[in-house]
Symmetry: C2
Subunit: 472 residues, 2 copies
C-alpha cells in the first residue's frame, strides 16, 4: 500500500537539507527502510539527513503544511518497527548528523547530547570525564540517544539507574508545526506545570522530534563484583533478589535471570566461554554489584549476599569473577543470549513484564501455554529479573520447519500476552509499541487510557504527520 508523494514535494524537502543529504535512490534508502528483525520492509520515498535543529524545524513545518508523513529515525535498531515505514512512501528523517555533545559538566553530572549521538559515544564522553552514563544495551554501538529516549530504552542497568526516562532531565523537541520547545532544564526538582518531558519520552516520535537532551551522569563506581549463581527455581531467584536488594540497595546494579537452556545456547554459540560453575543448575542469576568505596567493598557485599543465600538454601552454588576478564565473560554469557538463539532456528519473541514477585508464577504458567501452541517448542527464558522484565523467547522444536514455526508468531504472542494481561503485566516492557504491537495495545489497554492518548496525539499533532501508524 505504498503511497507516492505529489510532484515537486521531494524537491521541496530536499531543498531544506541540500541534495547531498536527501537520499532518493532505492539503494540509498534501503538501509533506512529495513529494520533489524526484517519484519517490515516497505520503502520510504525519501531520507532526509538534516544537519541542524533549524533544518529539522523547517522540514516539520513544511510537512505540517503539506500533510506529509515523517518518520524520525535514530540508529534504526528498534525491535517493533517504530522507525521504519508503516504504509510505504513516508519520509524518513534521520537524526544521525545531529551528533554533538553540546556540553558536559562533571560537577553537576549532566551532559547535553544531541539526538544523533550514538549511545556508546555518550558513554565514552562520560567516561572521559571520569563519569558514568549508565544506559547499556546490546545495540549501544549503533543506537542513538534520540531513539533511546523516544523508546524509553531499558537494558541491563535499570535496577539502580532507571530507564532512559529517569536518565533524562530535560529535552529540546521540534513540534510537528516546526516550533522548537527548549526545555533543556538541568534541575533535580522543578514543579512548574505539566510534565511535558515524560510525554515525549516513550512517545516513539509520534508527538514531535527530540533533537537534544540533558542526560544524568553518575560518579564512576570504585569497585565492582560480578557473581554467577546456580539455583533450583525462579522462586529461589526471587528470594535471593529480595535479599540482595535489602543488603546492597542502590549498589545492586544488576540482577539477571537465565534458564539453563539460555546458558547452553550461549555456550554453544561462544565455544571460547566456559560454564562458570562445575555443576549444573536449572536456573542462574548474574549479580552485578557496584561500590563507591572500593573493590574490596564490592566483593564483601557480594560475599555477604551469597553466603546468606547459600546458608538459607535458595542459592545453590556461586562464583564471583576473579578478574576483569572473568567479569566480562560472565556478562557476555548473559548479553549474547539474543544472538545465541539464531543457530537454533526460528525464535518467537516476547518482551514482557509482571510485578517482580509474580515472575515465578508467570514462568510456571507460561510453559504449558507454549506447549499447547507448538508442542516441543523450546522456551529460552532470560531477562532483567530485578525489573520484573523477561525476554520470554521461544525457539522452534528441534528439526521443525522455520517458516512454519514462525507462522505461529501471532498466535503464540496472543496467548502469552493474554497471560501477561491476566497477571497485570505489560506486553512491552522495554521495546515499545511501534507497528508490531499497535493492534495488541488497542485490544489490551484500558479504553479510557487509549482515549486520553488519542486526545494527546490530536492536541500535539493535529495534522497527523508524526510517525503515523505507530503506537496509537
Amino acid at each position: 500500500m505504498s503511497e507516492t508523494l505529489p510532484p515537486g514535494r521531494i524537491e521541496a524537502f530536499a531543498a531544506i537539507v541540500g541534495a547531498r543529504n536527501a537520499l532518493t535512490g532505492a539503494a540509498d534508502i534501503a538501509p533506512f527502510s529495513v529494520e533489524p528483525r526484517g519484519l517490515y520492509c516497505r520503502p520510504a520515498s525519501l531520507v532526509l539527513r538534516p544537519g541542524s535543529v533549524a533544518e529539522v524545524s523547517a522540514i516539520l513545518k513544511l510537512a505540517s503544511q503539506t500533510r506529509t508523513p515523517i518518520i524520525p529515525q535514530g540508529g534504526n535498531t528498534g525491535l517493533v518497527g517504530g522507525q521504519v515505514p508503516a504504509t510505504g512512501g513516508e519520509i524518513i528523517l534521520s537524526l544521525s548528523r545531529l551528533n554533538a555533545v553540546r556540553a558536559l559538566d562533571p560537577v553537576s553530572n549532566t551532559m547535553v547530547a544531541e539526538a544523533g549521538v550514538v549511545l556508546q559515544a555518550a558513554r565514552d564522553a562520560a567516561d572521559a570525564a571520569d563519569r558514568l552514563f549508565p544506559l547499556a544495551l546490546g545495540s549501544q554501538g549503533s543506537c542513538q540517544i534520540g531513539g533511546n529516549l523516544s523508546s524509553n530504552a531499558g537494558g541491563t542497568q535499570v535496577l539502580a539507574y532507571g530507564n532512559a526516562r529517569e536518565l533524562c532531565l530535560g529535552l529540546e523537541v521540534v513540534l510537528p508545526t516546526g516550533e522548537v520547545l527548549d526545555d533543556l532544564r538541568r534541575l533535580a526538582k522543578d514543579n512548574t506545570g505539566y510534565d511535558l518531558k515524560n510525554l515525549f519520552v516513550g512517545a516513539e516520535g509520534t508527538l514531535g522530534i527530540i533533537t537534544a537532551a540533558v542526560l544524568k551522569m553518575f560518579p564512576k563506581p570504585k569497585g565492582k563484583a560480578v557473581a554467577w549463581v546456580g539455583l533450583k527455581t525462579p522462586a529461589d531467584a526471587l528470594a535471593l533478589f529480595n535479599r540482595a536488594r535489602a543488603i546492597a540497595g542502590g549498589a545492586l546494579t544488576g540482577f539477571e535471570l537465565m534458564q539453563r537452556r539460555a546458558l547452553e545456547f550461549a555456550l554453544a554459540y561462544m565455544p571460547e566461554l566456559r560454564d562458570p560453575l562445575p555443576d549444573t543448575w536449572p536456573w542462574y542469576v548474574l549479580i552485578d554489584i557496584s561500590s563507591g568505596r572500593s573493590q574490596e567493598d564490592a566483593r564483601e557485599l557480594a560475599e555477604i549476599i551469597l553466603a546468606g543465600g547459600i546458608e538459607d538454601g535458595f542459592a545453590g552454588n556461586a562464583a564471583i569473577a576473579a578478574s576483569l576478564a572473568q567479569e566480562r565473560a560472565f556478562w557476555r554469557l548473559r548479553e549474547d543470549i539474543s544472538e545465541a538463539q539464531r543457530p537454533a532456528g526460528g525464535s518467537i519473541k516476547h518482551d514482557i513484564s509482571v510485578p517482580v514477585e509474580a515472575i515465578p508464577e508467570f514462568i510456571e504458567r507460561a510453559a504449558p501455554v507454549v506447549e499447547s501452541i507448538v508442542p516441543g517448542a523450546r522456551v529460552v527464558c532470560f531477562g532483567h529479573m530485578g525489573d520484573g522484565n523477561l525476554h520470554y523467547n521461544v525457539s522452534q522444536p528441534v528439526g521443525a520447519d522455520k517458516q512454519a514455526y514462525l507462522a505461529k508468531w501471532g498466535e503464540m504472542n496472543h496467548a502469552i500476552h493474554g497471560l501477561v494481561i491476566e497477571m497485570h503485566g505489560s506486553i512491552s516492557a522495554e521495546h515499545g509499541i511501534g507497528q508490531l504491537k499497535r493492534e495488541e495495545l488497542a485490544q489490551t489497554a484500558p479504553p479510557v487510557a487509549l482515549e486520553l492518548m488519542r486526545r494527546i496525539k490530536a492536541a500535539f499533532d493535529p495534522a497527523g504527520i508524526m510517525n503515523p501508524g505507530k503506537v496509537i
Copy 2:
C-alpha cells in the same frame, strides 16, 4: 468576586454524598477554605466528602454537565493556594474519606493507597510490614497521598528515593467527565503508550482527581548515621556533597544545607536543643547515611566522608550523632527552621532550585538583591542542597513593621525569581504553582511549553471544571 451556585445545584451535589457529607454552613466550610499561610481565604460554596470512587465519579459527571468548578483537596497543607478557592463559590471535594490502604505487598514492595491516606499513615503502614515508604515532609501528620502526588511533593529524602513522582508506579484517576482511569500498574518497566501517570502527577488537580495510587516501598535500612558539619562556604558544602555522593551513592539519603542564622533561629525557638558543634561556622550541612548492611557500616561510611572532607579542607568540624536521640535532635534543628522563623516577624518565602553546582553562585548573587529591596532584611537560607533546592527565605529587619515588610513580598519574589530564571533554575522546586505563582509561570515559562500545557488542559478538561484559576 465570589460566585454563587444556581438554585438547586447544592442539593443536587449533596444528594450524591448524603447530607452528612455535604457541608454548607460557613463555620463548617471555613477550615477547608483557608490555607496554612493565610494568603487566600475566599469561601467555598460547598464541601463534599465522597466516600467512594463511584461518588467522586458522580460528582465530576454532574460538575461537567453543569460546568460547576471543583477543587480537589487533601490535607489542605499546600503552600501555593492550589487547594482552596480562587474566585470563591467553587465546590471543594475533600478526599479525606477515601483513606484505605487497599493492599500492601512486602514482597513486591508496593502499596495501593487511596488519595485520602495521610502520609504518616502510609509511612506507618509500610513500617508495620518492615518496609520504608520514604516520602517525608514537615506536614506529614496531615497531608495526604493524593495531594502529595498532585503536587509532586519533595521533602528530605528525595536525594536517594526521588520526589513523589518517582515513588508512584500507577494511578487511579477520575476524569472530569466522571470516567475512571484504572491505571494501577505495579510494574517497574512498561513501555505501552504515552506516559499518562506523569501528566496527572504534579498537575495540582487541574486534569482529573487522583483517587488511589500504587506506591513504591523499600527495604528498611539496617543502619543509620547522621552527621552535622560546620563549613566556611557553600562552595565547601558543594565539594563535600560531591565527595559524599561519589562514596555513598544511593546510601546518601540526605544532604541538607543551613546558614548559621537558620541554626540560631532554630536554637532560639527550641531552647532544649544544643548547637551540635563547640565552635561557630557560617554554614552547616546535615548528612544522612543509610546502610542496608549494618549500623557500623553506616557509621564507617560517614567517617570516610568526613575524614576526607576535613583532610581536604572543605569540612571544618563535624559531629556524628551518637544515639537515636541525638539523630532526632540534629534533624529537628533542620526540620523546625520553618517554624523557627515566626518569632523573627514577617518572612518572605522562596522555594527555588538551580543546577546543584550553581548553589554557591546563587547564594552569592542573591544576597545583594535582597539588600537592594529591603536593606537589613535577614536571609534565612536552608534546603535540600543535594537536589539543588533552597528555601531561600528572608526575614524582616530587626524591629521593622511586619505588614510593611510583607508588602514587599511581590517585589522580592520578582527580583529573586529573575535571578533564578537567569541561572536556568526553577521558581517552584517542590511546592508547585497553585494560585501563588500562576502569573509568574505565565511570564517565565517558554511560550511553546505554555501552549502545550493549555492544549493538554483543553484535551483533558474541555468543560474547564477542574480546579480553575490554578497552574495555567
